[in-house]
Amino acid sequence: MADFLRIEHIRKTFPGVVALDDVSFSVASGEIHTLLGENGAGKSTLMNVLTGLYHPDRGEIRIDGEKISLTSPRDSLAYGIGMVHQHFMLVPAHSVFENILLALDNVPNLFNRKKYQTKVQNLIDEFGLELDLDMPVWKLSIGAQQWIELIKLLMRDCRLLILDEPTAVLTPQEADRLFAVLERLKNQGKSIIFISHKMREVMQISDRVTILKKGHSITSLKRDEFDENKLASLMIGDDKIPQWQKNLQMSDEIVLEIQQLSVRNDRGLADLDSFDLELKKGEILGIAGVAGNGQKALAEVLTGLKTASQGRIMAKGQDITSSDAKKSYIAGIAHIPEDRKSIGIAPDMSVDDNLIMKSFKNGAFSRWIFQDKKAIRRNANEKIEQFAIKSGPDGTPIRYLSGGNIQKVIIARELSEKPAVLVALYPTRGLDIGSAEYVHKVIADGADQGMGTILIAEDLDELLKLSDRIAVMFRGQLVGYVDPRNTTREEIGLMMSGEKQGGAV
């Protein structure tokens, strides 16, 4: 196999951050090459260099052995490099057709609308999708939007296709359909770079895997050189993986009950639509569903960030539906938010201050109207030790910490007052395996002490491993509960696309 693309010694810095430091990497024709690494390892930065969005400070890019320079996405496209970005490059206000049309090659400025509509429609039919070409994109589900991005890429005649976490918002069945397409393209001799955090997918389709860590390419392994354990151990390096085990079984006591809850979003559509849920004491309740089916709204309404338009939330026999964030906290709900950097922390403040954000009014940290710096420091030291946080020198702004350590700070803060309920929204997203296992351990330990956890996650394997029960969501509604011990991924996948079949658990 000849290398289609080869990059050597790429370095890219942003003000104050070295995002890529001496990265080398290659991809052959007819190969699916997977990039692995935690968030912040530089995967997306590297791909943005390849698509001409970022200009590297140093290093070489070669195509078919020829040294090239990419100054804009236009250049990359001309070399046949196309990408599906993790953050959708779509215009919500434009129609499906308009979004796809702009991405096509060689469309004349005065184009024949009919001809191109037929062309796009044919590809949509080929994938068995149901997409209305004239529908504005904002009205579509996130999964459908992902398909539009994929169609944009597939309609171009690219030689290298880059897919940055394309399956995050697809059901397992949809992901399989995508993989079939990728296999076909591979057999046509195209090169594919694939980014995913889901080990199962990586094992399923990769011909080669390259691991990135903190801006360095650690190693590249061929198909016969890696297995799941090998990859995991390479990603972890010298870090220790915490061991955990969930001991206590959930009780029948209900700590949180959601009845017929509806929440509307800014555009007036229902994010939650008569949603029901019961959480028991000491239970880890996994929520499965394709992203964008109301999970975020569920977490936000439970933590008081959004208000419900209908329905009730009951905690410990008390109606907490219309309370604000603070009152919900008093009622005992802790929250691990989805976007840890923008919602979970105050990035420029120190670890010490971030740790007391929920309890700063508590007399323990103040003297009269002044802060009690000693008490705050003491608290921080305790938490840093207890949760094994690598926090750097005293007073370091929290944003300099790694994703895993930031997540530990958030967890330490949220669990500091022994909450009865924890709402965790994608708590391990983008974390390295060691940190992810730590989060699992904390949740399992909490359950042993009677904390009920609503665990919203993308990776079905994670949910199956951790949950006592799994509730499946689709379009803001509860499809049903399943027992993870005797349910297959396929069954859950079908439920995630709206098919009711789960029995009572």
């Binding site: 991405a103 400025n109 609308r113």
Partner: protein
Amino acid sequence: MLEILLDATVRAGTPILFATLGAIINERAGIINLGIEGLMLIGALAGFAGTHASGSLLVGVLAAFIVTFLAGSIHAVITVQLRGNQIVSGLAMTMFGIGITALFGKGMVGQTIAGFERVAIPLLSDLPVVGKAVFNQNLLIYFSFLLVFIIWFFFYRTRWGLAVRTLGENPAAADTCGVPVNLYKFLAVTVGSGIVGIGGAYLSLASTPMWIENMSAGRGWIAVALVIFAGWSSPKAMLGAYLFGGITAMQLRFQAMGTTVSAHILQMLPYFFTIVVLVVSTMRLQKGASQQPESLGLPYDREDRK
């Protein structure tokens, strides 16, 4: 009576229509241009000077377009290339336009030219009520009708137009599709500015064929507000511009009839209406029926980390 009022409405509305169309092209590409008022003045003076020097109205209109195109390129360089603050740059453009036209216009005060004349379209101009207002006007007004259609066609039927609209919504999406972002934004600002300049030239070549200092008298600001009223669409801009033209025509009519209401109050009406329109359309915006380009006013930096 109605016929006369309609005719006056179109005549008073046309400079605002040109200015609004120019501003829409700017904002569709994501650039706020608060320099409309200044650009109108520059267009008015350039148009007048061009015609005065050459004796040709066409030369005047072209001069207005070219000079405001160049003036607009200042705003384009600041906001597109340098990613500067669009509000500040636009306000500076207005100040600049008022100042520089006052300076260079000194010699033009009191000069005269032969302005645009009505050109009646046979048969159609004899239609009752609308005949005179629509089919017995000067060439610039006919051009404005055409321009409304051209701009609509450009935005909704050509790939260029789609690319420009995408710039205003999500420039990164356009960029990753291979659209030359900065070039298109630059052209949208400069061409848009040139069209605003023709609106200015209408004042000095058609409304009153002479140069008067600060003759745009706030019409540029009305255009800025009308863009929102029109929901960034050129046919609706026509409606909005004539609405204001109508109010202006009516208040002039009232004054001519010798009403007891103070002339100052009447002259205030179009501006007062601007505020009302802004309040109403902003309330509409907040209800989520927004047509506003999503990236309007935001500089685009490809290397910005999200």
